[in-house]
């Protein structure tokens, strides 16, 4: 029996300065929860979001930053020859917030 997941996880982000706060996750699948940080549209960092509900990226380089909450969506265990999942993946579960440095 493979694990089944109920519902679709959702959370709400809000921004104060550069500090991002997340709401509790509804329909939480319990897999890895992370902040994804992108600068000028390109992913530059991820950080665990499971324990703390606030996050401030240490990135200082100038640019437009976007932060979104992601959760790992397990579809199956299959991976390619490099060990990357072929179908399971992280998905966005919140709105994104942005700021500029």
């Amino acid at each position: 029996m493979d694990q089944k997941f109920e519902g679709t996880p959702k959370a709400e982000l809000s921004l104060q300065g550069r500090k991002v706060t997340r709401s509790e996750v509804t329909n939480d699948w319990g897999s890895q929860l992370r902040w994804k940080v992108a600068r000028n549209g390109k992913e530059v960092a991820t950080a665990s979001a499971r324990v703390e509900s606030t996050f401030e990226s240490p990135e200082k380089e100038a640019g437009k930053y976007e932060v979104v909450l992601q959760m790992f969506k397990y579809v199956n265990y299959k991976k390619d020859k490099d060990g990357n999942y072929t179908e399971s993946k992280f998905i966005d579960i919140s709105n994104s917030v942005s700021y500029t440095i």
Partner: protein
């Protein structure tokens, strides 16, 4: 043979929802209750004196690598210490894997046993037999499951079965030898009840326990009356067993018809926030259901985290590129977070309800994983050293019992064998291992575990 509706199901290693009704019938054919001694009547066991009233075991099928989880060796060479980093817990000097951040905050409740080992082969089934029964054995000499022993000693305390396994029994884990989730010589009345459904599915309903279509209440009631009469005749015929608790047949009826049963299986009665806290997945919702069952009278619940190791993401981290292709990614993205969430939710939930002192939680697995990472980036089976842990009840948390050597290859001090863990659980539940005998093959009284409890746990 009694049938409720038209279902025909055989009883072998476990009892399904539907076939549960026929467990009693199988016994009825012989018209005899177990001829063994009645423990409670003999005064060997007094449930009121049990230090722990309930037990929940979480069985991590496939087995996490001890070096990647609860016995990390950050000073070891890279091909031994692995990818993950340790984090400090709320107990000074005890570190665990960074991917268990919630558990790290409650280590003061947990007793890690880091020197578990056994020497009888590296198959999953070997380890399952050891940790489910405290024995190694073959198909011709089955030994009873931990939950069956507890059922036999204490009996049921409500209409729910005394011993249950969620969400289903262990299936194919490599060889066709027993897994240890059977009542063996204790008889069908003490078979664990297998839920056989996935509580994470939205269409999982207690309606599955309802009588099959066409089975009216009148017919059920008529059969109940008939069975009551048979029970009466049986009681008169068996003077030594008149103190026996209700038979499997009446238990089956109770299970089918009691409002308590419907309540217990209906996760829809739980707050969404709490269901989220456990994790909306099969394991998390099974842990939540375990709490509901314990709350409503089940004495022992085992939750299997997975029922196989093939073609799924599970703890069996061989990284073989085929059907056993679990890697560090599975641990990091799925398995560790899922376990961390469900386990800590269960502990918190029991504590909030004032049930943690009465319930011991045991996290068990078959073995450890090889200290040296294999050529594909995985770790293989390794029964020479691993870590399991207990909390709740009167378990003294915030401690580590035993240790392994510098590379986690063998116990360094206080080596612990699987039967000692089971003896500890029995001891914690108030069972005197010296005086409480089990009816062995041929009804010969036998001691049911050849080990002493781990004293440091209490």
């Amino acid at each position: 043979m009694l049938h409720i509706g038209n279902e025909h199901a055989s009883v072998c290693s476990g009892v399904s929802r539907r076939s549960f009704l026929q467990v009693g019938a199988a016994g009825m054919a012989g018209m005899s209750l177990p001829a063994a001694m009645e423990r409670e009547a003999a005064g060997a066991v007094d449930p009121s004196k049990a230090k722990i009233r309930n037990c929940i075991t979480l069985f991590l099928v496939g087995s996490p690598g001890h070096l990647d989880t609860f016995d990390m060796k950050p000073e070891a060479p890279e091909d031994i210490r692995g990818k993950f980093k340790p984090i400090q817990t709320n107990v000074e000097g005890i570190d665990i894997c960074e991917h268990f951040p919630r558990m790290a905050r409650m280590m003061d409740k947990v007793a890690l046993i880091r020197s578990l080992h056994h020497k009888t082969g590296a198959s999953h089934e070997n380890g399952q037999r050891w940790m489910m029964t405290g024995h190694d054995f073959n198909s011709n000499d089955l030994k009873p499951f931990l939950g069956s022993v507890i059922s036999r000693v204490y009996g049921a305390k409500s209409s729910l079965p005394a011993s249950m396994i969620l969400p289903g029994k262990i299936g194919n884990t490599g060889t066709s030898t027993p897994h240890g989730q059977q009542s063996a010589y204790l008889g069908s009345a003490h078979e664990p009840f297998f839920l056989g459904g996935d509580p994470a599915l939205t269409d999982f309903k207690v309606a599955n326990l309802a009588p099959p279509a066409g089975q009216t209440e009148f017919r059920i009631d008529s059969r109940r009356k008939l069975l009551k009469q048979i029970d009466e005749l049986q009681r008169r015929a068996e003077t030594r067993t008149t103190k026996q608790r209700e038979t499997a047949y009446s238990r089956a009826f109770n299970l089918l018809t009691s409002p308590e049963t419907k309540q217990a299986f209906d996760l829809g009665n739980e707050a969404d926030k709490l269901r989220d806290r456990y994790g909306r997945n099969t394991f998390g919702q099974s842990c939540l259901m375990a709490r509901r069952l314990i709350e409503r009278g089940t004495r022992f619940v085992n939750v299997n985290h997975f029922d196989t190791v093939f073609n799924i993401s599970c703890w069996d981290m061989h990284a073989d590129g085929g059907s056993l292709n679990n890697t560090y990614k599975d641990y990091e993205y799925l398995l560790c977070p899922q376990f961390d969430q469900a386990f800590t939710a269960l502990v918190e939930d029991l504590e909030t309800r004032g049930m943690l002192d009465d319930t011991v939680i045991c996290v068990l697995s078959e073995f450890g994983r090889t200290p040296k990472i294999n050529g594909r980036g995985g770790r293989d089976h390794y029964p020479s050293a691993w870590t399991n842990f207990l909390c709740g009840g009167n378990i003294k948390g915030g401690q580590v019992i035993g240790s392994t050597d510098k590379i986690g290859a063998a116990p360094h001090d206080n080596p612990i064998l699987p039967p000692q863990v089971l003896a500890s659980i029995y001891h914690a539940m108030g069972i005197d291992l010296e005086t409480t005998m089990m009816p062995g093959p041929g009804s010969r009284p036998i001691r049911f575990i050849d080990a002493e409890p781990i004293r440091e746990l209490f």
